[in-house]
Symmetry: C2
Subunit: 296 residues, 2 copies
Amino acid sequence: MNELKPAAPDLGGGGFLRIRLDLSYDGGPFNGWALQPGLRTVQGALEEALALLIRRPVRVTVAGRTDAGVHARGQVVHLDLSEAEWLGLGRSSALDPASSLLRRLRGALGRVLGNLGGAVEVHGAALAPEGFDARFSALWRRYSYRIADGPALWDPLGRHSTLWHKEQLDTALLNEGASRLLGLQDFRSYCKPREGATTIRELQRFDFSRGADGVIVATVQADAFCHNMVRSLVGSALYVGAGAEPPGWLYERLIARQRDARSVLAAPHPLVLEEVAYPSAEGLLARAELTRARRV
Amino acid sequence: MNELKPAAPDLGGGGFLRIRLDLSYDGGPFNGWALQPGLRTVQGALEEALALLIRRPVRVTVAGRTDAGVHARGQVVHLDLSEAEWLGLGRSSALDPASSLLRRLRGALGRVLGNLGGAVEVHGAALAPEGFDARFSALWRRYSYRIADGPALWDPLGRHSTLWHKEQLDTALLNEGASRLLGLQDFRSYCKPREGATTIRELQRFDFSRGADGVIVATVQADAFCHNMVRSLVGSALYVGAGAEPPGWLYERLIARQRDARSVLAAPHPLVLEEVAYPSAEGLLARAELTRARRV
């Protein structure tokens, strides 16, 4: 989950070049995205691989920090390299620096991950446009959440990324309840509070649709998410989908602005960060300034 | 893979009732379907769970014996129970014997599998129609094989059931080559030979199609398969799809009727037994007789 903090991003001054990486990962074998001493995390693996290539410690900034067990198909990070480091990447091969970084980073990740090779895949590496910040430039983040509601839909091959829910769910009820949460709202009732962090977010999409395979996929999109927000929204919606609460209950909980005894987090393993959207190159600098200012 | 053997099936005489089970499994954590002493196999887990319920050793007969690492979404087995055993299943609950067997077998499998719970899911349990034999009554078996041809398509969440192929493949070339193998043929060139077993099979479908997600799915359907046949067909087709051999090469290899130095088995983990088809109740007895007679 993404959490906005007041620290100003490094916009790549001082002769540094900003690099954007696009990546996917299976969150199952990791203790979440964020670095934790002594634990296997996605950030830890990525930074270890980058350090092998660049020959110094490298820090990355992520678009959407994911909890333990949560996956990503469209995660974005940035890192800063000196011009010499960037040009050095392409020097020993016929490839340009970006292609060389992509190829060598894949190799280094394979060495770092060992028998978990393939759990993290870097799909793109490129020089970022002026003003790009993986976290602060993002326009929105979109997550998916897969739910197989009934044993007939329980596919062992998908069990690591699908909720196996015993009762059947009514997608019309789910959508009726979910649609009332859209817009700019205070999502305090659906967040794990963090000191100094706002809980006001713009929920742009929250809907449920049953695919051809019978599995329900929830889509949740917002400008940003506070901690545990997607899992809390989906967890509450399950009561509505099963008929245990009326659709209006989701909105009632929202306006109560507090976490109550029925607050429930849906399991992390069916949650996937699917996409992070950014403005065009021209809009980037303006966007970074706006994001930092708007929620103070 | 299914292998026809001359042994006559037990057609359920002598007061026994024949039960059909429909199941799915993730083949990854198993050493294949077939029972092997000291190794974890799907058959071993299923028979252990059944023995817990029935309180005696139980043998099952399978429609499509799968190799180590191969998965199933539509596997079918049969087993025989005495009338007393069958009626006893429903006695202590409000459920009929079939529903009770399904529920209790799921519970027993969970206990047998421990932290692999969910790797094997039983989707149906029912009294089989007269003359039903999971193996000998089958009209055809259909397998799928997923191929992500290029790093941009490598999704970590699907890596346990998708081939990650570096070179891009041409589905038109794949289909041109594959279509020439259709029909009743001697597939000796594409089989691991087994003593006394025929290699004549009717290949009913062999085609490749690229889905909305960009991943290629091969579909292979035949009346039955000899050992390693699907993986051998797909492995050879990869040469054609990559342009290393012309489409006609697949047929040339077929009529050579021998395994040569370019015989190659595609990896097992992208292979899924999707469906096994059976005749209507009326056609079942006739079919079982025909299948045993036709390939002698």
